[in-house]
Point group: C2
Chain length 138, copies 2
């Protein structure tokens, strides 16, 4: 149950949180608007702020992951723990998952690090999704 997940991370179990967690668990990369809409269809009502709060809490707890593709509103996905990456459509912002291409993460070991203490390597593939290709091609 998702309630256990919440408790395990020291978060209180509330309806909005369960709803959002449920929505994210269903898969996909949703923006705040979409999450809010879906949450409202499950509960009688949820405030926009509550959704932002919940997403913030889940992200901090590591139960959700925030994806912020340049030029598009932020999206969230259930964090599966694996180190996967994303394909983003330049035109509509659609997102797809991509497993790390190589076994060993070439990612986390850059040649130079300028003294930075690194904690994550993010890979984003940019292109056009099938739907947007059709529109552009015609």
């Amino acid at each position: 149950m998702h309630s256990d997940q919440l408790r395990a991370h020291g978060l209180r179990v509330t309806k909005p949180r369960l709803a959002v967690l449920d929505i994210l668990a269903a898969g996909g990369h949703l923006d705040v608007d979409e999450i809010t809409r879906q949450a409202r269809s499950r509960l009688d009502s949820v405030s926009t702020q509550a959704v932002y709060d919940v997403l913030g809490a889940l992200t901090r707890a590591g139960l959700a992951r925030r994806i912020e593709p340049a030029g598009h509103p932020a999206r969230f996905e259930a964090r599966t723990g694996d180190n996967h990456h994303h394909v983003v459509c330049r035109s509509c912002g659609a997102i797809g998952d991509v497993d790390c291409a190589v076994d060993y993460t070439p990612c986390l070991t850059p040649s130079q690090h300028h003294g930075f203490r690194l904690d994550e390597a993010e890979v984003t593939y940019w292109g056009l999704c099938p739907a947007c290709q059709e529109i552009t091609d015609d």
Copy 2:
């Protein structure tokens, strides 16, 4: 001369464009604010809008590259043509360059592409820059 670069890309040579191109050529990863400030110190005056327009034109022409780290304002760098990546400080947004770790770009050939037509692979390393480490550590 930078005027030639502009002309070569079909762009008219104007004072704001030369100034911005000059500033970028000096190196670094600057945000619009900083570019505007530097441009104003070279010219009598430049509108914020003009700076955005110029940066847009330069980016479209391939003379500049836009970097947009999640949670930080966009930054621009002179495009050197090589396929390098960036280290970004989570705290202050400072950016450093990193050459592609591997010779063959493992980057551009993800295992799955969901039908997307890809044109770029972006790698961002997240961490704390030396300065911010000190503040956090203490």
